[in-house]
């Protein structure tokens, strides 16, 4: 179906970067193998700070794998092997001396399915600050919880029931609780792995709004299945296909003026 372009490993095409934002995350030749299978091949790209970068592509294209490289979540899978270089603020992520614990405190992550811990709403948000020892006193912790919930736009809804279990909330609320939990440790980068795929349209809209607000303070990388969502919320877009980064550039450019035939075919819905 998509054979009207050369088969032999064409290079990634980069749009000329139009954004003025500084670079937060830079990757170079990142490859991931699961067992013997190559899941991600030679991904090189630069992700700006204070902006939303969307990763799009058909299922199994490696976009989630790429996301899990940034906070080294692939370490938790026994068979995964990561090579190449990822730098956050020019600090190597894959270095031997880098502690994933510290790294993950800097890089928050939100998952496809809302996964609040089996604890109260308060304890869910306080979890990060507690384990990292970010609050000296109860008052400080209360403050962190409150501001995180406010930032996640959930405070108004849960202020009077902070000690109810987190699982008692609705799906959209749970996902915002998870976002609040992630921003409670004040990370620099937030990764979102299809954050809206388990939610209804209204909750999705609420989360998208939130993502847009969060752009002010964080560098966000979001994996999404929905091209419309990518177009709505992101400033930069990366298109993955069969484990390779095909094209990367400002979202507008990618959607209006793709350089690669495969990108064109994907965004026009000819495969996916």
């Amino acid at each position: 179906m998509t054979l009207d372009f050369p088969i032999d490993n064409p290079p990634t095409r980069y749009h000329p970067l139009t954004t003025q934002l500084p670079i937060k995350v830079a990757t170079e030749d990142v490859s991931v193998r699961y067992g013997g299978k190559l899941a991600l091949e030679d991904v090189t790209l630069e992700i700006p700070d204070r902006a939303v970068t969307a990763c799009i592509g058909p299922s199994g294209c490696g976009k989630s794998t790429f996301l899990r490289c940034v906070n080294r979540m692939n370490d938790t899978i026994d068979t995964a092997r990561v090579s190449g270089s990822i730098r956050i603020d020019s600090e190597e992520v894959n270095g031997r001396d880098v502690d994933p614990v510290v790294l993950r405190a800097r890089v928050g992550m939100v998952f496809q399915k809302p996964n609040p811990f089996p604890k109260s709403i308060y304890e869910n948000v306080a979890y990060g600050p507690r384990i990292h020892g970010l609050a000296e006193t109860k008052a400080e912790l209360d403050h962190i919880v409150e501001t995180s919930l406010i930032k996640a736009g959930l405070w108004a809804e849960v202020a009077d029931r902070l000690h109810h279990p987190g699982t008692s909330l609705s799906g959209g609320q749970q996902q915002r609780l998870v976002i609040a939990r992630a921003i409670a440790v004040n990370p620099e980068v937030i990764l979102m792995d299809e954050p809206c795929s388990a939610l209804d349209p209204i909750a999705t809209a609420r989360i998208e709004e939130l993502i847009d607000e969060m752009r002010e303070n964080y560098s966000l990388i979001i994996v999404t299945h929905s091209m419309a969502q990518a177009a709505r919320v992101s400033q930069m877009t990366a298109f993955f296909h069969l484990g390779k980064l095909v094209e990367y550039g400002p979202t507008e450019e990618i959607f209006t003026n793709p350089l690669d035939q495969r990108t064109q075919d994907y965004i026009t819905g000819r495969f996916g």
């Binding site: 502690d99 614990v101 510290v102 405190a105 800097r106 384990i131 990292h132 020892g133 970010l134 440790v185 004040n186 620099e188 303070n217």
Partner: protein, 581 residues
């Protein structure tokens, strides 16, 4: 907003502590696993070590003369007459020929205590089966008594052999006693005297400490009764100290008794027991236990044989020790594989006890359990999984089965006693009832595993069968059941293995009886009294004889081997037929 570096610092600051906590936690986990594995190793290791002495046994081979006047009292060679013969006397005579010195009734009783009279029954059968041996001399092999066996294995008695230092003169004295004197004037017995002395000193120290301790406790005790008894005990200890001190300062000859070590002296091919020694270590007084080859008055080449364990602390007498060792040296007692353990049924004499009876009982019991538990369990599983409507009753049955799986096994024993034995009047102690009780106990395990196996067969198989017009019953019996069979078999075997190791419920229905004859491995065996392997282990472990300890461990190994092979079959089946959908 950019307080990121401070957060990083905060995280970094606690990092080392958190990683230490992580290491600690991991260590606890590893320690828990190691503890469990260690327990297993110690359990198996201690049982294997304890069982080793049971796998060999000393047997005595005697040339027994079948004297017609004893074996055939009526003299007509008929079976009835042969059965009235006194075969134990034949064995006794043969043994007496070895030790003509043993004369008194007491000595003979000790001599015949080297084997169990039950062995004569085997000789009887041999003669009854071959009456032509009358008047001939037969080699007859019999296991020696457990105490002699343990002694020869070096497990119950500490002993030491010391070469004689200088030539001795042997002077006949009062009665049978001899006086032994060092020819050179060297104190040849002082080694032994030192030992006696050291023993006495140790006993003295112990008694002193005991006296002080009890006195101190008595002083602190508030309760009058307890104080009085403590004071009495302290007084007894003080008396003992007194007596021991007196014995030490005594200058007369050292008399050996049941509280002290025993001393033997081997000279001129015989064995003397020393009864008393002079304090200077120059002379001693003794009697022959095993007569000498020559009647010479001097002994150049002799040795001391110190039996350090006092005779009060062992179950074998000095004479029996000397006789047993002499028989061994004469080549009449040999150590060999203990086949009795696997060919005999239970016996009161450890050397004649074996697991064959219990093994037969276990087989019979397991046959009943298998015949009941597997078909009923599989049937119930099929009904619940494939046919049962989802209603209250089915839920109740499910809860019931899950609960039965966790009911203590002894309760099933009570059920068996009350219902099978007292209500239905089934025979006590019979494999039939044991098998039924164990079947009820195993049923939940079989049902649960069979249901899991049926559940694992994908619905598409059923739908395919129903789709071509099979009835529900046909779909289940022709298609689902064969596919679930390996899983069902595995679960059933594991359930049966559990039943094979079960003891408590069988105690309730009287399978704990002493069974000297193994049950017949046939239809009638199901109602004869029997016992099973785990119960045999329980019976032996509560026996007083020390020789049963090793035999119990050996029986445990036999049981564990059975269980391991059961489970190995289950694992093989699982591997061989495992199928993933």
């Amino acid at each position: 907003m950019n307080n990121a570096p401070t957060i990083r610092d905060a995280v970094q600051a606690r990092l080392a502590k958190r990683h230490r906590a992580e290491m600690r936690f991991q260590f606890y986990g590893l320690a828990a696993i190691s503890a469990a594995v260690l327990f297993l190793a110690v359990l198996l290791g201690s049982i294997i070590i304890q069982s080793i002495p049971a796998f060999t046994a000393h047997r005595l081979v005697l040339d027994v003369e079948i004297r017609p006047e004893i074996a055939d009292p009526r003299g007509d060679g008929s079976e009835a007459s042969l059965r009235r013969g006194s075969y134990n006397t034949l064995i006794q005579n043969s043994l007496r020929d070895q030790f003509p010195e043993a004369g008194s009734v007491g000595e003979l009783r000790e001599l015949f205590g080297l084997y169990s009279a039950v062995n004569a029954a085997r000789l009887l059968n041999e003669v009854v089966n071959n009456p032509e041996v009358l008047g001939e001399t037969l080699p007859f092999s019999l296991p020696i008594s457990d105490d002699a066996d343990l002694y020869l294995k070096g497990l119950t008695t500490d002993e030491e052999f010391l070469p004689g230092a200088a030539p001795l003169t042997l002077e006949p004295g009062m009665d049978d006693a001899l006086t032994l004197r060092s020819q050179t004037g060297a104190p040849v017995f002082d080694v032994f005297l030192d030992l006696v002395q050291a023993r006495q000193d140790a006993a003295l120290d112990q008694a002193r400490i005991r006296a002080e301790r009890t006195a101190a406790r008595a002083a602190e005790e508030l309760d009058t009764d307890t104080r009085n008894s403590l004071e009495a005990e302290a007084q007894r200890a003080r008396d003992l100290v007194q007596a021991l001190q007196e014995a030490r300062s005594d200058t007369g000859p050292v008399r050996l008794n049941s509280q002290t070590a025993s001393l033997m002296l081997r000279a001129q091919g015989g064995v003397l027991r020393i009864n008393a020694l002079a304090r200077d270590g120059l002379s001693a007084e003794g009697t022959w236990l095993v007569g000498p080859d020559t009647a010479s008055q001097t002994a150049q080449d002799w040795s001391l044989w110190v039996i350090e364990t006092p005779s009060i602390a062992r179950r074998i007498t000095d004479r029996q020790i000397v006789w047993a060792r002499t028989l061994k040296e004469r080549g009449l007692i040999k150590n060999g594989l203990n086949t009795t353990l696997f060919t005999n049924a239970d016996s009161r004499e450890p050397e004649l006890a074996g697991v064959a009876g219990a093994l037969a009982g276990s087989i019979l019991t397991m046959v009943i359990t298998m015949l009941l538990a597997v078909p009923i369990g599989v049937g119930a599983a099929i009904y619940l999984e494939e046919f049962a409507p989802k209603n209250r009753l089915t839920d109740f049955i499910e809860v019931n089965i899950n609960n039965l799986a966790a009911v203590p096994s002894i309760v099933f024993g009570l059920l068996g006693l009350a219902v099978f034995i007292n209500l239905f009047g089934f025979p006590r102690s019979a494999p039939l009832v044991g098998g039924m009780v164990l079947a009820l106990m195993t049923l939940p395990t079989v049902i649960i595993s069979a249901r899991a196996a049926l559940k694992a067969v994908p619905p598409s198989i059923r739908e395919a069968a129903l789709g071509v017009g099979a009835s529900r019953t046909q779909a289940v019996f022709h298609h689902v059941l064969p596919l679930a069979m390996p899983g069902i078999l595995t679960g059933s075997i594991i359930g049966l293995a559990q039943a094979l190791g079960e003891t408590a419920p069988l105690l309730m229905i009287g399978m704990v009886a002493f069974i000297a004859d193994p049950p017949t491995l046939g239809l009638s065996g199901f109602t004869e009294p029997a016992t099973v392997m785990p119960v045999q282990i329980y019976i032996w472990s509560s026996s007083a004889e020390r020789a049963f300890e090793a035999r119990t461990a050996a029986a445990i190994l036999a049981l564990l081997t059975l269980l391991v092979s059961f489970n190995a079959v289950a694992i093989y089946l699982r591997r061989r037929f495992e199928r993933r959908w």
